[in-house]
């Protein structure tokens, strides 16, 4: 077995040396939106719990979620939900072995960004 010291091992370049690209930015946003959705999800759980407890408790939580701060959190959560859903769909497509060519991957990235904004606007228009 050839011996090697840690000093001679090749190190792969790390994230920071790369210029941000559409594929990397959309990938990082998938992680951020997925984990940030915890905030909105816990609010939804609190809303259901309050509704099951009493009209007064419901009024407090529902009022919080429909106030200006609540509106902002719910709007961002709605966008994050659509973004994460579309980005997840893109992962399912990639996992199935399709859309991995650079040009298609970039097009899918724009599809996720534009699609998430359009779905957010569409949802607000319908609801």
């Amino acid at each position: 077995m050839a011996d090697s010291t840690p000093g001679k091992r090749p190190l792969s370049p790390h994230l920071t040396i790369y210029r941000p690209q559409l594929t990397s930015v959309t990938s990082i946003l998938t992680r951020i939106t997925g984990n940030a959705l915890l905030v909105g999800a816990l609010l939804v759980v609190a809303w259901f719990l309050a509704a099951s407890v009493s009209p007064a408790a419901f009024g407090a939580v529902d009022g919080l979620m429909t106030g200006w701060a609540g509106d902002l959190v719910m709007l961002l959560s709605l966008w994050a939900l659509w973004y994460h859903a579309l980005a997840g769909l893109r992962h399912l497509i990639w996992d199935a072995g399709f859309g991995l060519e650079l040009e298609t991957a970039e097009r899918l990235g724009w599809g996720v960004i534009i699609g998430s904004v359009l779905l957010t606007i569409l949802t607000l228009a319908i609801i």
Partner: protein, 123 residues
Amino acid sequence: MSFLTAYKRAAGAGSARRGADRHWAQTVSSAGLLVLVPLFVFTFGPMLGRPHEEVVAYYARPFPAIVAVLTLLVGFLHFRNGVRVLIEDYVQGLAREVAIIVMAWLSYAAAATGIFAIARLAL
């Protein structure tokens, strides 16, 4: 083989040779959520900000209640796996283990609380 350090060779460290089941669990739950999320958005969304009695009457109906239960259940299981990957990437040592355990508590507690509340509204 020449890239292995003496420590790694002694410790037998290398590929974990497992973990595909966690990727598959995320694949299955994500496919479910692709169906559940739109249904939840368009059932829960119109109810947000409505009077209490209207919300209670709405969630007494089977379809919105079942959609909400499934979305919270599958969603929080999906979150539990997803946040674990995040923690494993950025948190080291004991804090990593504590964070994974706390997030598992939170995920199950939130799912259970939501399902209990919806059941209470529906029944």
